[in-house]
Symmetry: C2
Subunit: 313 residues, 2 copies
Amino acid sequence: MTDKTYVFGHTNPDTDSIASAISMANLQNQMGRNAESYRLGDINKETKYALDTFGVNEPEFLSKIDKQSNVIMVDNNEFSQSVTGIENAHIQMVVDHHRLNLHTAEPVYCISEPVGCASTILYKLYKQEDISITPRIAGMMLSAILSDTLMFRSPTCTQQDRVIAEKLSKIAGINLYDYGYKLLEAGTDTSDCSADEIIKLDSKDFKHHDLKITISQINTSTIDEIFKRKLEIEKAIESRIQNENIDLFIFAVTDILEANSKVIVLGNRTDIFKKAFHTELIANTTILNGVVSRKKQILPAIIEGLEQKIQLQ
Amino acid sequence: MTDKTYVFGHTNPDTDSIASAISMANLQNQMGRNAESYRLGDINKETKYALDTFGVNEPEFLSKIDKQSNVIMVDNNEFSQSVTGIENAHIQMVVDHHRLNLHTAEPVYCISEPVGCASTILYKLYKQEDISITPRIAGMMLSAILSDTLMFRSPTCTQQDRVIAEKLSKIAGINLYDYGYKLLEAGTDTSDCSADEIIKLDSKDFKHHDLKITISQINTSTIDEIFKRKLEIEKAIESRIQNENIDLFIFAVTDILEANSKVIVLGNRTDIFKKAFHTELIANTTILNGVVSRKKQILPAIIEGLEQKIQLQ
């Protein structure tokens, strides 16, 4: 057996990062290769619900990776969102659906597609390799698609995600919509989370030249419920900003039924946010109508705003 | 019809950059999309031989690209090796087999594989889309594989390249080895080239932080023939270094039969080269045994050397 390949998604793992790591490791195993899935952080409640439903064990936690270890990155291609030591690992493969921000010294196998979910691409890799998908793996991949596309309501969702989710629901033997509502509902329960936990649930860091930008997002069916804790959440954000030298922190509370987001924006560079969205902040807050996707809506607007500024200088 | 998509490889195009642009534009056309192949520089003699053999017109020259134009990048993913204006174009797709060095604001369709030739990946895309390959297109794709893999002798060559080249030679109705020798031979004729033309034939620029590194390569069956013109070539390199503020210029003359390279190394940072290859230069020159691939051997050694240095600082 060759050296083990470590398969993982991004830090602060969401359901897709866990499901695509599990299904990629399984695909490699089925092809006779030594691979294992890992998580780069705590499992959230939505993912736990999926794992429990389909009787799948949660992957082991990985805090750092040794030099020259073999790695497959799924649902992520940015070192800033990956494990400590990734810069010196040997990246065998990347399967992702986010913007590309990757440098390698040598050619690697990379497949990135603008679909709603990494698990959608994984499904096609199983088909390509002619390897059958078990009901458990299908259930995890389905959960990832439902989660990433907010049950097909996100602008990131494509026809491929819909068609493949239907197929996976049949393999998993589960009603897609019944299960989907329960899954998303499980993810919105923050009643026993501290404010710090809430802003860390699905938080991603981005670097743009010298700027450090954090965009944290939470899905909910009741925005007001989260905003009752606004002061407490703002304190937690301020503390993160201090400790991690963050220039701009955007916390988006996304109503998954109404498809809007209410945001709290803090840091010494809130001007970037205001310019990007042509909006003012009232008590650090504004509503972004129709905005539900960090990847397809919030981050591109911020980057476009930044690059225009750079051109003007 | 939608807006035209511009399809092109890298500047200083080699046979793969031209062939994969032609075959990708053709694939898009067969799928009912408006796409056209372009070249980002003069056609070299090897590529001309392939175009003439298979009766294919050379693509039009493209000097710059308008903002928001739709683009497919083949055989390249680095802006520094692409057309002027690429930063503001809309990249629809990337098909490549080089190291990854790409930043995008939004997710894009990118397929990169560590195979010997971009045309090898293109062949698989034709199969995936169930679109038949004409003898002319097959001939161009075959030429690209023979060229990039030095007739399967380069360490970049994989089993896939070999198998697909065989299939393409049957579609093209041509003897793979007979044609291959003639193709590579056509590319080594530099008798009527100026020294400046010789160093520009297959030259690629790389940026590493503030460093500008140029690696130019020429294939030959007689290294001595090129080195008869060493002084003249050194002058041409020095002039390029001055005009383009290059820190390190590596000119590799690769013997395609013996699988060695003799290099001329100039610039104020030749120390980088010497450290990377643990070698000294005698009269700006050394022999690299077994080194034939810029992508897989020369560039990774240089980058590894640089990154080690950065870590030590």
